[in-house]
């Protein structure tokens, strides 16, 4: 081993030891250090009661994480735990909540900061109402059209039946009963 490698190795071994010493000083001495902390994902802050508060979860479920994952803030910050954005948004929600703001005020603050796209669903106002109403309007219109279609056909069928001779079926009662069974027993 040449001198440069030896000195490099020495420095490399001293730096992590110093880092570990610093970490240990900050943490509970009854908890063991991981053999290789960097393998276990990013370091995480302990969770408290307010992180689990239903009110906070409800707010965060209405807000979209802006990291591009398409998930809401609560789901993103509790999924895979690699996102750096959702924990920050969570802290912001907590800060506003502890500052006495209501859920609606917190939502409004996020909309003011990030725009409407920060909401997991568009607010029910203005053009967005078209978005909410359109599926039901389409199905209702389809329902009405279908009823008209069925009524038209049913009337036509009644007229045809009325015009047709009544004794056209050349079958005994037993045969008709068997036919009815056939009709019942075939495909749905």
């Amino acid at each position: 081993m040449d001198r440069r490698r030896f000195l490099g190795g020495l420095v490399a071994s001293v730096v992590p030891v110093a880092g570990l010493a610093q970490d240990e000083a900050q943490t509970d001495s009854t908890v063991g250090q991981l053999w290789d902390p960097n393998r276990a994902g990013r370091f995480i802050t302990p969770r408290g009661e307010r992180d689990n508060a239903e009110e906070i979860k409800a707010i965060e479920r209405r807000l979209r994480c802006t990291c591009g994952c398409n998930l809401d803030v609560y789901t993103c910050r509790t999924t895979d735990f690699t996102c750096g954005v959702s924990p920050e948004m969570h802290r912001e929600v907590l800060g506003l909540w502890e500052g006495g703001q209501t859920a609606e005020e917190i939502i409004a603050a996020f909309v003011a900061q990030h725009g409407e796209a920060v909401l997991m669903a568009p607010p029910k106002e203005g053009f967005n109402l078209v978005g909410y109403a359109m599926p039901f309007a389409a199905v209702t219109a389809g329902f009405a059209a279908l009823l008209l279609f069925l009524r038209h056909h049913a009337r036509r069928s009644t007229l045809i039946a009325a015009a047709a001779p009544t004794s056209s079926v050349d079958a005994t009662d037993d045969e008709l009963a068997r036919l009815a069974d056939e009709l019942q027993s075939d495909e749905p």
């Binding site: 900050q26 943490t27 509970d28 009854t30 908890v31 063991g32 250090q33 991981l34 290789d36 960097n38 393998r39 276990a40 994902g41 990013r42 370091f43 995480i44 302990p46 969770r47 479920r61 979209r64 591009g68 398409n70 998930l71 999924t79 895979d80 735990f81 690699t82 725009g115 409407e116 796209a117 920060v118 909401l119 997991m120 669903a121 568009p122 203005g126 053009f127 978005g131 909410y132 359109m134 599926p135 199905v139 329902f143 279908l146 009823l147 069925l150 036509r156 069928s157 056209s168 079958a171 005994t172 045969e175 036919l179 056939e182 009709l183 019942q184 027993s185 075939d186 495909e187 749905p188």
Partner: protein, 676 residues
Amino acid sequence: MTLLGNIALWVTLLLGVWGAFMGFAGGLAGRPELARSALRAVFAVTAAVVVASIALLTALLGRDFNVEYVAAYTSRNLPIYYTISAFWAGQKGSLLFWALIVSIFMTLAVMLAPRRDREFLPYVAAVCLVVVAFFASVMLFASNPFERLAFVPQDGSGLNPQLQNPGMTIHPPMLYLGYTSITIPFAFAIGAMMSRRLDVTWLHAIRRWTLLSWLFLAVGIVLGMWWAYVELGWGGYWAWDPVENASFLPWLVMTAFLHSVMIQEKRGMLKKWNLALIIGAFLLSIFGTFITRSGVISSVHSFTQSNVGFFFLGFLIFVAVASFWLYTRRLDLLKPDGTLESMVSREAGFLFNNLLLVGIAFSVLWGTLFPILSEWVRGTKVTVGPPFFNQVNIPLGLALLALTGIGPLIAWRRASVANLKRQFAVPLFTGAATLALLAALGVRHFYALVSFALGAFVIGTIGQEFARGTRARHRQYAEGYAVALMRLVGRNRRRYGGYIVHLGIVMLFVAFAGMAFRREMEATLKPGESAQLASPFGHTYTFTHLGVSQYNELNRLVSAASVDVRKNDKRVTLLTSEKRQHVDGFGRATFEPSTEVAIKSDLLEDLYIVYAGSVAGTEQTVYRFTINPLVWWVWAGGFVLVIGGLIAMWPGAGSAPGAPRRTEAGYGVTLAAREA
């Protein structure tokens, strides 16, 4: 190998274009020699695509990192099965995989077509060859899997850890099989229109292909849900992501077709509607591909954004315009043979079922595209996430569930009051009793209550159908009940397979409703410390953190956090969730650490434990504990649905080709004549 791959792609493109021209020309001009040339082109193109696929697989398995695609999606230490799955893991490879499957399907369609369908084959070959040639052109001009780098990297980037899951080896292929096999019914539909043979023959040709496609899509969707649940770590299985929606849309439309086609078969009605559904299903499959690959809509599933989106958009517009132009030119041949006789009939039930299925498809499409529309109209981006889709689709879905139970209870043609009373008594009682029982037990969630009650109603319907059929066979043929049941299903596969599919749907709805009672919490625990979480079923789980161990695996460094689980103080199991740091062949980290969830599943609920991470590198650990009720029933429901689909699809389920169906004979009231 890349040279061979490129040559094979060029051969595919040129022969595809040639075969398409020959197919259309041979069919329209009635020139059998041209039609034969098109059919030969089918085999030649398939062979060329197989050669291209082998070339790519050889490059992947040979770790030829000079090939850009190989370097981007594999590494030296990637296990062999994931190396194979890298074939479809990226944009470029998946395009080739798509072309491969379409080629195989078109070859099978040509080889397996019965004599009565021969007239359609030149057109079928031509349409399929257009599709394959399109994919070859996308690869050659925009996204070539055989592109080489200017240098040879020492190792590849490896496969995304979230794709290193057994589900990913089969979920995407199943979806691709579903998406691509829609091409065959679409090709037959075009063939029927071009040949002007729009009688019931083309329906026989495509019904089984549509069912196959529907089945593959169903399997792909359920496997995708399973993958999302076990791999992504968010504790759910469906997020209404645009790409999930894209797979759901053609499935819904094909489901509508599989119901309405029965009216055309029995009554000669809804010809225009059925044709429109098949064209729509194919367009939606291309639309799904466009969404996945264009980057026009933000999605976690999207491939790298590239200009292939323009290709797909152009192709989508071309196919839509050409298909509907042809469709409008054939409307005069699509007049109904019969008429509906009553608003209370099985036919009317199918029509309402179609309305809801297409309505749900429309609402999903609408929600998926609404962000673009909003930006276009208002200049403001909005997000349309699960709250929107749930609000819109849950009521429609429940109405559909109700129809699943109502439809089979109504007689064909016209139902009498006496018939309705007889049919509805048991299912209505089952549904009402379930509603009362759950309400008495304290269930107050509205949609969940409705879902469970409707589920019981549908099960009442299905049970009644099976019981009556079995009893009838038992009486008529003196068979034991078990034998009677088996023969009942075996001899009416399409009908009873359909009921089994309905049963699977009920199980899925019940499982979805269960998620309304989900419980979750985060907890920070030192080794030996515990957290408690109450189950919606009344008991309490105690989770005790045991510690974190670290070790090396083939291509990853693992940190495993273990939890002892007790249920009401009785020990249940030990669960271990992991953090995985994937590395390349030189030990260098390749991706962000990923999470492996620990899951314990039973009929009632899933325990879902996620190791979130460690506090300042110690064994003090943050967990997310979740209790997901009834999730097991999602997978069971998916399995039952597939079994039902297989039974319905099994050869021999329908009548012999060309023979009059018994019910058709009945409608013609020819029984007396035949008896005579």
